[in-house]
Symmetry: C2
Subunit: 347 residues, 2 copies
């Protein structure tokens, strides 16, 4: 017997009260007699009453949901990013009784289309936007609508303020450089991607800034670029860097996946990490623990960041006029065994 859903009307009828009174009693309004409130609460609990979300949303204009548009992903998810991210969001949302909507973009569909749909159908009270692109129409759209959102990541420059939380990749890459420099490295390699995401600039600029700060003209930086999802091209780019007659002694990769490729190809080329080559990544993916000799990397604590993003978003939803919130999270170095003193200079 599929139990029917209890409605406010039924509850009111069974109590001999009006719908209004029951609604207010459950909302805890002071104007309802204490005795009545208790009686109603008791009956509601017993009947297992749960308010209908649609009806509540319709009248209040609040859905109690926060949206996340799933980035269209390649066939190979290599990390636990998404899992950690939604887990963190969930943790941040649950104390406020808010749930998460995951909207997926179809193969041939732009993310912005899905975003618009989520926003304009009233499914969500706010959204989280990840993977910020150099020119990001999503932020412009949300901004134009005045719709609450928090970005995970930043634009390089913008003529408007918005709420964001970002990992301080610039600082991390500076830290990586300083550490490697102090270990004697002077010739550096950076492996990066060709996709127009802002974080690649932020990190590369952080590296460049640290180099400039040091003011040592003997420091040299090579850059290798490959498309994010083209494994073949990536391997090629890495090998071009490794096979060069004068190759770097230390390679910093934009993120661990690239760093792992560097380590694999280095081994294949007969190099020993870290004796011949230091490698540093970013993200602290699980594989970085297991890939010999253990990848030195940075941990950005995605789950914790996501939780904070959720909290920021709830704040913004509650008060749309508030000053823009921004948080820059400094990742922590996870030193493992893939970096070491620079090899003696050849020649």
């Amino acid at each position: 017997m599929p139990a029917r859903v209890t409605t406010l009307k039924e509850l009111a009828a069974s109590l001999g009260l009006s719908i209004t009174t029951v609604s207010r009693a459950l909302a805890g309004h002071q104007q309802i007699a204490l005795k009545t409130r208790e009686r109603v609460a008791q009956a509601a609990r017993q009947a297992g009453y749960v308010p209908n979300t649609a009806a509540r949303t319709l009248v209040s204009g609040r859905s109690g949901f926060v949206g996340l548009v799933l980035p269209i992903r390649g066939p190979n998810l290599v990390d636990s990013f998404l899992g950690e991210f939604v887990t963190g969001l969930g943790e941040g949302l649950v104390p406020h009784g808010t749930d998460l909507i995951l909207a997926t973009a179809a193969q041939d569909q732009a993310e912005i289309t899905v975003l618009r749909h989520v926003v304009e159908s009233g499914r969500a009270d706010g959204v989280v936007v990840t993977r910020i692109a150099e020119v990001d129409e999503r932020l412009a759209y949300l901004r134009g609508r005045g719709f609450p959102f928090v970005a995970h990541g930043r634009l390089l420059d913008s003529d408007f303020d918005y709420n964001w939380l970002d990992t301080d990749g610039a600082h991390a890459f500076g830290e990586a450089f300083d550490m490697l420099y102090d270990l004697g490295h002077r010739h550096f390699g950076l492996v990066t991607i060709s996709e127009p995401m802002t974080f690649r600039h932020l990190r590369q600029d952080g590296l460049a800034a640290a180099i400039a700060r040091r003011g040592d003209p003997s420091v040299r930086l090579d850059v290798a670029t490959a498309p994010r999802f083209d494994r073949g091209a990536r391997i090629q780019a890495v090998n071009r860097m490794l096979q060069a007659p004068d190759r770097p002694t230390a390679i910093v990769a934009l993120f661990d996946e690239l760093a792992l490729t560097v380590m694999e190809e280095a081994v294949r080329a007969g190099l020993n990490v870290p004796r011949d080559l230091s490698v540093i990544g970013f993200d602290n993916v699980v594989a970085s623990v297991y890939a010999p000799p253990g990848l030195t990397t940075f941990d950005a604590s995605i789950r914790q960041c996501a939780r904070e993003i959720a909290e920021m978003l709830l704040t913004v939803i509650a008060d749309k006029t508030a000053e823009p919130l921004t948080r820059l999270i400094r990742p922590t170095l996870v030193p493992r065994a893939s970096h070491g003193v620079a090899p003696r200079t050849r020649s």
Copy 2:
């Protein structure tokens, strides 16, 4: 200028038509003149009209959402399961215009409470249930309500039918045994968990069945059990098995995370994998590629399974009276380098 949301009423007014007609025109009803339908569609597109979800849900009784209650997870997610799973669900749902709701259980809250809330608030038209426990109140509840759901996993026995999709762990473990037996192994170890999840029985039974099928009385099986999230206890249990005077020559782990621990501890104990010890896991997590010498394991293609689960659920939602759907997916062996011929018998 935060653009307002267009409503049906406004659209109707601007067209000089009634709300009814516009609604029907957009729904493509034949009874509306073709010319009108086109005119309305055009105007709707131009105005960027998106129907309000709450209103539609309220009257139709369909929310256009499918729910997933996030399992409460320990501090350390080690795999990409959740990410792959929600990605797969999204892929299966998006062609039908359905989205996914992720509800998180608070720390002190039972999963069933959240599930009840999702179901009874009308937020979702159906739910996906994962990680089936030996005695699973969620299935009983959903069954009792007649609420559409698909289980990822199975009960060991049940007095009712339901929709499920499961990975054929029994078959995989049988396959692992056969392969190892043919390589000369006679003394086996199974590392499993103490949590009352059904899959541990299914897999262990599959192993036992394969042993029985072989009918070789010299085959021996040791079992080590530890709590899922207690790393210390797990290491202890593994070591007890490895340190035993007469240790197994082949260890099958309930899943990769355990297998990785076995490999780590084996190395620490001075054993060579696979020369002294064969290890086989299950799940094909990313780390299994990188953990030396490369873990032989089974791939259950979570993403594909999740997609199918989504499709099954949509079928069930569309026709609640349909026969129960069940799918048993055979995982594929991913042979890497952690297994090999049995070492010569000592003594």
